[in-house]
């Protein structure tokens, strides 16, 4: 059993509105999975159910083949929630010591510092006096405090500057290399593409696509081959091939939409169409993503 997370036909309704609608997926050990989608797609609701903070209206979530709220599960997970919160009245090192004491095999303070970039100055600061960036580092450290096997981040990079973001993803890579399973949500396609091995694309509470970043990109971008050809020449032969999703003429050029541009090139030469000035175009990824998820502003 390598499955760390299994989500089976999970639905979550809030007052007749379905936030998550019959979603199923499973995540194996060592995977780095991005839950990608625009706001309101059901990402946070799904993550809350995985964490056992919300109960599914129907269906079942299992972590390590146990229910999410069980103690054995809690000891193996670490999480950073969207809302960064800290315990008032304590210094950073006191909070870290406290949270470490909850777990059977916590990471040492030194290890946590090395992973999260907390400074000695941060450690001595009272929680209520931390800046936004320091709070983020602290909550990252809290997520890792118990040396978790499964780490879940809900929109981890919101509010981080570019340097912290870069550092954060480097650390995530390090953790993934140690064999940790990582789930994070984001509405940045670029981030999911850079950091994840697998993307679960959410739209309107359901999974619109599930695959590697390359597969997701291929499925959401329209690739096309265009060329100039003698107008007299019949393109009949090309029509028979299933790789072609669409073919049309525009401004003296022939455009072929396809998922497999290599195969189209092969065909052009095989069928001796006499195509000249061949161009391969990839539709703009971000545009396609925006179209697919129906949101324009937040997908960068």
């Amino acid at each position: 059993m390598n499955e760390i997370v299994t989500v089976n036909n999970v639905t979550k309704s809030f007052q007749h509105k379905k936030a998550v609608d019959d979603v199923s997926f499973s995540i194996s050990k060592g995977e780095v999975v991005a839950i990608l989608g625009p706001n309101g797609a059901g990402k946070t609701t799904t993550i809350s159910m995985i964490l056992g903070l919300l109960k599914p209206t129907s269906g079942e979530v299992r972590l390590f083949n146990l229910l999410p709220h069980e103690k054995q599960v809690r000891e193996k997970i670490g999480t950073m929630l969207q809302e960064v919160s800290v315990m008032q009245g304590l210094k950073v090192n006191e909070i870290l010591e406290l949270i470490r004491s909850y777990y059977p095999q916590p990471l040492s303070i030194q290890e946590l510092i090395a992973l999260t970039g907390l400074t000695p100055q941060d450690l001595k600061t009272r929680a209520e006096k931390l800046s936004g960036g320091q709070k983020r580092r602290l909550s990252f450290a809290l997520a890792l405090a118990g040396n978790p096997e499964l780490i879940i981040f809900d929109e981890p990079t919101v509010g981080m500057d570019i340097t912290s973001r870069k550092r954060f993803w480097q650390t995530v890579r390090t953790l993934a290399d140690q064999g940790k399973t990582i789930i994070f949500s984001t509405h940045y396609l670029q981030e999911a593409d850079d950091a994840a091995d697998r993307i679960l694309l959410f739209k309107d509470g359901a999974i619109a696509a599930d695959g590697t970043p390359a597969q997701i990109k291929a499925s959401i971008t329209k690739q096309s081959v265009s060329f100039v050809v003698d107008p007299e020449k019949s393109l009949e032969k090309l029509y028979q091939h299933s790789e072609i999703t669409d073919i049309f003429r525009k401004n003296n050029r022939v455009y072929i939409h396809t998922d497999n541009t290599d195969r189209i090139l092969e065909l052009l030469f095989q069928e001796r169409i006499g195509a000249r000035d061949i161009q391969i175009e990839r539709g703009k990824l971000e545009e396609a993503f925006e179209q697919l998820t129906g949101e324009s502003k937040e997908a960068i």
Binding site: K71, L81, Q88, Y102
Partner: protein, 245 residues
Amino acid sequence: MKTFQIQCKVEIIRILRNRYFVFWSLVMPIIFYYVFTNLVNSNIPNKSEWQAHYLMSMTVFSVMGSSMMTLGIRLVQERSQGWSTFLRTTPLSNTVYFAAQMVGQSVIHVFSIVIIFIAGALINDVSLTVLEWIMSGLWILLGSLPFLALGTLIGLMKKVETAAGVSNVLYMVLAVSGGLWMPLEVMPKMMQAIAKWLPSYNFGSGAWEIVRGGLPDWKNMMLLIAYLVLFMLLSNYIRRKQEVV
């Protein structure tokens, strides 16, 4: 068990670092005590009895305040800022968390009681028998339970501002009408009749009886227990209603 100890220790540290606690529960009662036993009411017939009586009033006032306000507001803060949500994802059990809050708060109460008693002994040479000191201290410690329950009830509010406002008003009204600031005898008959049923009066009354050489009335105890049960049932009921998501 180790987790429980660390959790208690942390709660205690947090309370001691809280400026509102230090001001409202330690500094204010001691200043009040000094003012009302030395600067005003100086021509009271039985001076030493009044000094012991008022020392109890102020200790009760202090402990009542930290039960309701320090605890209540902290609970709201932790929930509204998402800290409670984070804790729910950790292995810390709810029971340990809750128990540590209560134990931590009670240790703080012992601390406040000792400090204010010492202040009384130093300021006015209040002298009670060892048994009276211990008995009145214990009464105040145990009598704080209904107020801790009231604190958890306040802790269920959604906003820190509401919780702070409501608990402040409730605290003052209970303190004044319960005869903690001035003896009940100086109030109108009507007020006196109402006060006899308030938790604050019954809390104070037990301690006043002890320093007068008597014992708390059974009615004091029964009423405090009744309030404890009432507040606990209420807060359980509301919590359950809130949790249905």
